[in-house]
Each structure stands twice: as C-alpha cells, then as structure tokens.
Assembly symmetry: C2
Homo-oligomer: 406 residues x 2
C-alpha cells in the first residue's frame, strides 16, 4: 500500500463566509499539523522551559519545533524523585506546558522501570515498594493530567524480573509478583488516575518474548491502548524487511503501534557482539561525513517504512542532538548545533513531501476546492478571514470551512 493511500485524503473543501459559499474566489489552504505523531525526546529543554535556557538552547528549540509535533519527557524515578517525597514536579510541569502550549502532544516516560529507578526503594519491604509504585503512578498522572495524557506506563517487562546487573526495588517486586500481576497493578493504577490517558506497554525486546508477554497480558484482560516498540539501531539499521516483519508480528494484536525510541547513527556502528548497549563505553564517538550520508538515507528509509504500515501511529526519535545516550552520534544535529543531512532529509519528508504548504486555489461555483493532503490540521484563508479544519480519514472526504474575520 502506498503511504498516501491511508495517510492522506482527497479533500473536497467547501469554503463559506456568513453562511454563503465563497464561489469563484482565491483561497489559500495550508497544513498546520500532522495526525501522525512525529516525536522526539525533549529532555534537553527543561532548563529552557524553566526560564534558564542558553542561546544554544533557543536555537536547538527552533530546530526541534521545525520538525516534531510530539515530545517525550523524562520521568525516570531515580532522577525525578532522588529523595523520597521531593519529586521534580514543578520543573517537569513547566516543561510539559511549554511543549503543550506550542501544540505538541506530550508523553511521559516511564512510570515503572527497573533501570534508573529510585535507590531508596531498596530500603523498603516488597509490599511497600509495590504500594509506593502505585502511589507514584497516581501522583504523576494526576499532577500532569490535561498536559500529559499519554504515558509509557511500564518499560521492559520482558527482562524486568530477571534483570541481574544490579539489585533494585522494581526487579524485586516483579520477581515476586510475576510479570502479568505487575503489569496489571501499574495499568490499574494508571487507568484509575487518568481514565482519559493513552497508556503504553513499552519494550526493547522484539523477539517472541514480547509477543508472549503481550498475549499473556491481553488474555489476562488488561487493557493496553498502544504497544510501544523500541528501535535503537546502534548496531545498524534494521532495513525495510526486518522492520516490516517486526511490525507485522506486533500488529496481529489489533492495537496501535508506536515506535517509541529510535536511534540511527551517523558514526561508526557499535560492534554486534555487545548485548546490552549500555556496556559500550568509549571516550569519543564522532559523527563522520560518510556516517552522516548513511544516516540521512536510513532515516528516510525508516520513516517511509513506518508510515507504510497502517498500524504505526507514532514515531519518537531518541534525541535530536548528538552527545545524548552513550555519547552516540545519533542526533539529526551535531554537537556544535549545525544540522546534519538527516535533519534536512527528514524535514523534506515531514514538512515537504508529506506536507501541504500554503497553496492558493480558486473555488468553483459552489465554493469548493479540491486537494490531496495528509491527515492532520489545516487552515484556509481568504482576504484576511480564516477557518481551521481537520482531515481525519483517508479516501475521498468532504469538509466544510466557515471563514471568520479575526
């Protein structure tokens, strides 16, 4: 299936003003947003959103806002509440609002995970750990409701009870409870705290293990809204075939799929024998011209592949700027703030090939114009009067827009 077939619509737009169709008039239509979530983490903008940004932050924000309509913000328990009872709520809420005010969909990541969790959990008995985990979920989801209504509720459950790199409170309770009761506990808490929220199960394990987990969770009657698939490709681009086969395996459950964490490098690849990516520690991991050309090509191929599958509704890139996780050159922007070819390549898709720029057309005798555009938000203007409208479904659709003067 071609991407446009189910991601775009043939729109017949009837433009009116004061109840009268605007016949034979020049109007300008422009896309304002995509229905598809083109996301990226926004971890670097906490200072900026809290009034302590640098000039470099401002420039990076401009580049960020030029590409993305969705943001993932960090709620790692160990960072968010390093001291019990002193959560970083105010700063994160300001950050979330900064993005929300700019029309971005905000997601919190993650509410339960065994890595980067709070050390003080280990001072508690298991029963108490479970109780504060539930309370923590309810607290964050309540405090951020209306600003953040999308959450990675629990992360990497496949290995959660057998994670053995270091002791931590979450592995302890997951080992004791079992995976499915753990998922049930955190999803019940999340659903109760914010019934309107979109709740994700997220994992990096793309093997049959995640399938088995999902099937067990669904059989147990736990409602999952979205399946999150990570795709950190530090060891090389998956390619179209593997990507589509992976999506197909997880699309069988009839749930929307979000690619929640994607990385593609513009430097040398991590050796294939590394199993836990965190084990690869090198002093410097430079971006290279050849790497940047390869990355730009792979970014385009990967986004095209994801959009070609109807089940995929969102894609979050794991860091716009180099020097993030592992120091890997995985950004679309170099450490010095200059965009790589991948930035331009992706921009050419999101705001180019898949975007309707301001386009002037003449309405017919019944006030109609026709255009083809990606699902999303639009604006039509004529002589200083405007109307907003959305294109929600693919195929041939008819939409009405009643212009008003501002």
């Amino acid at each position: 299936m071609s991407i446009r077939e189910f991601r775009a619509a043939g729109v017949t737009l009837t433009v009116s003003e004061g109840g009268v169709p605007l016949a034979g008039r020049e109007v300008t239509v422009a896309q304002r947003d995509h229905a598809f979530l083109f996301g990226c983490i926004g971890f670097d903008f906490v200072d900026l959103a809290n009034g302590a940004g640098t000039e470099q932050d401002e420039r990076m924000a401009e580049l960020w806002l030029g590409l993305f309509n969705a943001v993932t913000l960090p709620f790692y328990w160990g960072g968010f509440e390093p001291e019990r009872g002193r959560p970083d709520t105010a700063r994160l809420l300001a950050t979330a609002r900064w993005f929300a005010e700019r029309g971005r969909v905000v997601k919190g990541h993650p509410l339960a995970w065994h890595t980067v969790t709070a050390d003080w959990l280990m001072d508690l008995p298991n029963e108490e750990i479970a109780r504060v985990q539930v309370e923590r979920i309810k607290r964050e989801m309540t405090d951020f409701a209306g600003v953040i209504d999308m959450w990675d509720v629990i992360n990497e459950v496949v290995i959660m009870p057998i994670f053995d790199k270091y002791d931590n409170g979450i592995t302890r309770i997951c080992r004791e409870m079992g995976r499915i009761p753990m998922v049930r506990m955190v999803f019940d808490a999340a659903r109760e705290a914010n019934p309107r929220a979109t709740l994700l199960l997220n994992d990096f394990d793309m093997s049959a293990a995640y399938e088995c987990l999902i099937e067990g969770v669904l059989e147990a009657g736990i409602k999952i809204d979205v399946l999150g698939l990570q795709s950190h490709m530090h060891q090389g681009y998956w390619g179209e075939e593997k990507t589509l086969a992976t999506i197909d395996r997880f699309a069988r459950y009839g749930l929307p799929i979000h690619f929640t964490e994607t990385t593609l490098l513009s430097g040398h690849l991590m050796p294939p024998e590394i199993v836990d990516l965190n084990d690869y520690q090198i002093p410097e991991w430079p971006t290279t011209p050849e790497g940047e050309a390869r990355q730009a090509d792979e970014v385009v191929r990967h986004y095209r592949t994801l959009l070609s599958h109807p089940s995929v509704k969102a894609m979050t890139y794991w860091g716009m700027t180099d020097g993030g996780w592992l120091g890997a050159p995985g950004g679309f922007v170099r450490a010095d703030g200059t965009p790589k070819p991948s930035y331009e390549a992706l921009h050419n898709l999101i705001k180019g090939e898949w975007w309707l720029p301001p386009t002037t057309m003449r309405t017919d005798g019944e006030g109609r114009i026709r255009f083809n555009g990606f699902l999303g938000a639009y604006e039509v203007t004529a002589d200083g009067a405007t109307a907003e409208f959305t294109v929600d479904a693919p195929g041939d659709v008819t939409v009405e827009a009643a212009l008003t003067k501002p």
Copy 2:
C-alpha cells in the same frame, strides 16, 4: 545442597515374617529402581517390540535397559498418521507395552507441534484443523491410557505462531488463535481424555520468552503438571552455572521440571552461528576419542547438576546410539554398538554411586537394619523370603517390610 540430602534417605527398615520381627538375622537389601526418571528416547525399538528386531536391536535393548527407567516414544503426527484415518496405533501400543512390562515409565512426544506434523492438515480450513487436533489428542490419550500416562502435550509454543520455514496446519491455527488459547485447547482435550495423566508443556527456548509464555498460561488458569526444558547441546555443554541459573528461572513457578531432550556430543561441536540446529547438514559427523572423553566428563557433570536441584524430577537423553537426529555423535553408544566412555560414566552414577547394590546386613534385636539409599524401589530377602518396599521421602524414614515366601 548435596544430592543425597534430598534424593536419598536414611532408612530404618524393620523386617518381619509372619508378624514377628526378624531379630539378629542376615538380610539382603537391593535397590530395584530410582524415583528419579532417568529417561531416553526409545524410537529405535519399535521393530524389536513388534517382533521384528535384529540381533543388534537385542544388544542395544540390553544396553538401554541397563541404564534407563523411563522412555519417550514418538507421536509426531506426520509420522504417526501420514494418511488421515490410518494412525500407527498398534505398533506404538506394542512398543509402549514392551517398555511398560519392563517397569519403565512411558511418555508420548508430542501431541501438538508445528514440525513433522501431518501434511494433510493443510487441506483443511483452520476451524477443522483445530477440531482434528483436539480429536487426535483425545484418541491417542484414550488408546494409550494405562500404558502411557505422561505426555508432552504441546511442543515449542514460543515459536509456533511465527515459525516461517514452511507452511503447516499447526502454525496456521496457532497464529489465528494466539498461543494461550492454543495451549488451553490442547490441555483441556488432554485433561479430559485422561485425567490421571501427567501433562507437560515443552520448549527449547530457554530465554525470557518461555518464562513469559508460562506466566501467561498460568495466569490464564491452565493447569500444567510439569515444565519440560530441552537442552540439546550440539553447540557445547552449558556448564553448571548456566544450567543452574536456567533451572532457577523456571523453578520459580513451583512446578516440577523435566529435562526432556538432552544431547551432548562426542565429536566436533556445531558452529555457534547456527540458529536452527536443523540447518546444520554435513555428510559425516564422527565420534572422536577426545570428544568421547569430553562427553563422558560433561555427561557426569550435567547429570550431577540436574540432580543437585530439587525441582528437577526427570531427565531424558535424546538417543542412546549415534546416528540419530542430524547424524550427530550424541549417543552413549557408537554406531557399531560399542559403548563409549559416557555409557560407563553414566552407569557408574545411576547404578553405582547413586544405587544400593545387593547388600547383606544383620538385623538388630527388633528386626531393624539401617542404610542410606536413593529414593526408589527396593527389595529385601532372607532365606528365600522376600518383600518389596519403596523409599519415598528424604531425611530419616522408617519403613516396614513383611517377608513372604514366593
């Protein structure tokens, strides 16, 4: 924990005859069987059991019976019923009885599997495949009840719905139903057909995937009697640490564990890059002197490791004689019928270190003798009078034996 601590007992045996304790008399105690199931496949003895054995078969049977007290017989659907409606019941029943008459515990393998399944299933719609799968289970379990009361009900569910080497009826229905409904269907059928039977879930996948599957199955309320773990080690012995860690992960569910399929080579190892062992096809795979020494060592280490874990109740070796699956030199006996060092080494454990040979002792004034023996079946004799007894529990136990003349 030492093996004897929970696999053997300190027995105080009171011997009597005609209701009177046999005081101050010489009696001979001898072990007759192990409670632990030391199993092996018996695929090579179908002809012999059906009266068409060769002299070589007779010799192999003698070696086989010298080691093993449990047998696994083949019920691969494609071999058992290659033509719909003409199952190989009579020959397999004769084989099962041949082993049962010799006091061996007989297990059937497997009732549902996507590999070596019946090709004619592919001519049927999915609903019909599911129906005949259920009927097939009920037929075999009813026909063999009382002779075979232990079954690998379903094999390799982790990859069942995503198996893509070739089309087959079982993958089709598992993909449509999902893994857990598939397991429920076959276990319900098996339980109904023979409520006394011991029912196994069996897999080769020792990763978190099998854990996730098991947790989903148990959460769904499906009763599994025994977890089957395969351990074909064509690519090298796992070693004690990995073996114990694997058992620990699966022992968490509180179910007995059977090592259902074990292979250790006495020739060169399969290269590590082979993922599906069936892909390794070579014209000749010889046993070697160095390989045989290594195998004997590893066999002893592996059996000691399994017996050192209280959850493990059975171990089935995947072929006593070379030239079986993949032509690999995995047997304890060479293709020419001569035993390898591994045969003797294992015999020295099962019928040596872990065995009470006929042992003469003098009873005390109350007719008692004391000995330490592995859990299992025993016989005591005095002056041509005999009694059988079993040692069922570890620790200090008291047992009574009333001698009778034959």
